[in-house]
């Protein structure tokens, strides 16, 4: 039997999405194509939800680390929706038929899907209203030195320097690696970090950048670039404790 959920359960799922800001807000199918947007999110290892509402109803497509997890759709007037795990993109395609539908993409923790034979996960909270009112997730800084690193400025600047020295294609690959590390609480889009970077995830992201750059440009160069960056942001010592670049064999 297919798994279904009620409107209140759907709202609870949306309410559980963390992150203060939407990655993309108020998009319209009239000028945004579905496939390229989904491809971009998948390539970035995105975790979160793409929510759309319009004349065809209301639906959501969930991502988990770049994978399409599931989707649900409430046709107009329906009180329950079927959760699609097989080919979930088709659900959003239905909503894309309405050129004026409102689409929001928000990073966050995807819902837990019930195992085969398992009952539905208990719903203990109902979101007050729309996805735009979702509160930001709380941060839990562990090490004060790491928490003091301005990750939201440091990571985009690191990528900008990679782009200046080694070009856009490599920077794009490293951006994808960073986003895989930051997901689901934050995402790096161009020169801006959206959402909140947890220090632990920032460390993983910086190490991913150092390793990727070191493979191409050499460990010595990657070390210099990142340590200089740490110096420029007043956190050289903290950065030096995290980045241990393994030179290419």
């Amino acid at each position: 039997m297919a798994h279904t959920l009620s409107r209140s359960e759907a709202l609870a799922q949306l309410g559980g999405v963390g992150g203060g800001r939407a990655l993309y807000d108020d998009l319209r199918p009239a000028y945004i194509r579905l496939e390229p947007l989904v491809t971009l999110l998948r390539r970035r290892g995105f975790s979160g939800v793409m929510h759309a509402a319009g004349q065809q109803g209301e639906g959501a497509l969930w991502f988990a680390r770049g994978q399409l997890l599931c989707a649900w759709l409430f046709p107009p007037g329906a009180s329950r929706a079927e959760v699609h795990q097989h080919n979930p993109l088709e659900v959003l395609r239905t909503l894309w038929a309405d050129a004026d539908a409102v689409v929001v993409v928000r990073p966050g923790e995807p819902p837990r899907l019930p195992e085969a034979g398992e009952g539905r996960a208990p719903v203990d909270r109902v979101a007050p209203s729309a996805i735009s009112q979702i509160p930001p997730a709380p941060q839990t800084p562990a090490d004060p030195a790491l928490a003091a690193i301005p990750w939201e400025r440091l990571l985009p600047e690191a990528l900008a320097r990679v782009r200046r020295h080694r070009g856009r294609p490599l920077a794009q690959q490293l951006e994808d690696a960073i986003n895989e590390a930051l997901t689901p609480t934050a995402i790096l889009a161009g020169t801006e970090v959206r959402g909140a970077v947890e220090p632990g995830k920032g460390v993983v992201a910086l190490r991913a950048l150092a390793a990727g750059l070191g493979r191409v440009a050499g460990g010595a160069f990657a070390d210099r670039l990142i340590w200089t960056l740490g110096r420029d942001f007043g956190c050289e010592e903290a950065v030096k404790t995290i980045v241990r670049v393994e030179p290419a064999a």
Partner: protein, 257 residues
């Protein structure tokens, strides 16, 4: 010295010397003698400076960095050019009837092969950054270039009565342009729009000049019109100077990180 502007000026001075040696057409005996004396000297100077600057670029890396090996191989290729050009000059000045093919070609072929290895190593590094379309474009360009070179330059030589060793060398020197240039363009495409992209564009330009000088050398010798003061040698001087300048620029980029 590496952080100063001097390493970038050295290749410019070498090119200026090359222009001063190869472009004038001296009418008197002393002028001709001087030109024959200076021609190999300028070429050896160009190769030596390129070797030093490429070695300095390699020194900017850690001992296990992949690109260190690339630049060191580039420096080794330039040293092989130094040896090959010296052997060629000695062969010429010793009055041997035929300076081509000679022992010098062993070193010059070796120089091209080591340079080919260096570029292949760098291409392997950037292969994952290039798109499939870019790889196809480079492979297609290399094939088209090789076909044009063979049809236009090598075919007339291959069908002539030259000895097999000379024909093989001609085929090798002529083919270097199709082998080396696309390989050098790969990193320039992968790093496009960045400082490294311009450095590798310089390397590609230097490699193109060197390969064209090899092609010109093979073509001119087959028609017995090559001499050590022929202006085609300017391409070799320019190619080595551009390679050296690229190495110097790359070293500055590494230091400025």
């Amino acid at each position: 010295m590496t952080s100063s502007i001097l390493p970038l000026l050295l290749p410019a001075v070498v090119v200026a010397m090359g222009l001063a040696v190869f472009l004038p057409v001296p009418m008197d005996l002393t002028g001709r003698f001087l030109q024959h004396l200076l021609s190999p000297a300028v070429q050896i100077l160009a190769a030596s400076s390129a070797a030093i600057l490429l070695r300095q670029a390699a020194a900017g890396y850690g001992p296990r960095d992949h690109e260190r090996r690339v630049w060191r191989l580039g420096a080794l290729a330039a040293w092989l050019w130094v040896i090959g050009l010296r052997v060629y000059a000695i062969t010429e000045w010793s009055g041997q009837a035929r300076a081509y093919p000679s022992a010098a070609d062993g070193f010059l072929v070796g120089a091209f092969l080591v340079l080919l290895l260096a570029l292949a190593e760098e291409f392997r590094l950037v292969n994952s950054i290039l798109t499939r379309g870019q790889r196809q474009l480079l492979a297609g360009g290399a094939l088209a270039l090789w076909v044009v070179v063979i049809a236009r330059f090598v075919w007339p030589i291959a069908t002539s009565a030259l000895d097999p060793v000379e024909k093989s060398l001609d085929l090798f020197y002529a083919s270097t342009v199709a082998l080396l240039f696309p390989l050098a363009l790969g990193p320039a495409m992968a790093f496009r729009g960045s400082v490294s992209g311009y450095v590798w564009l310089g390397v590609a330009g230097g490699v193109l000049c060197l390969a064209l000088s090899g092609l010109g050398f093979a073509y001119l010798t087959s028609f017995e019109v090559y001499s050590d003061v022929h202006p085609i040698n300017l391409l070799r001087v320019a190619g080595l100077a551009i390679l050296g300048a690229s190495g110097a620029w790359h070293r500055r980029m590494l230091e400025a990180a």
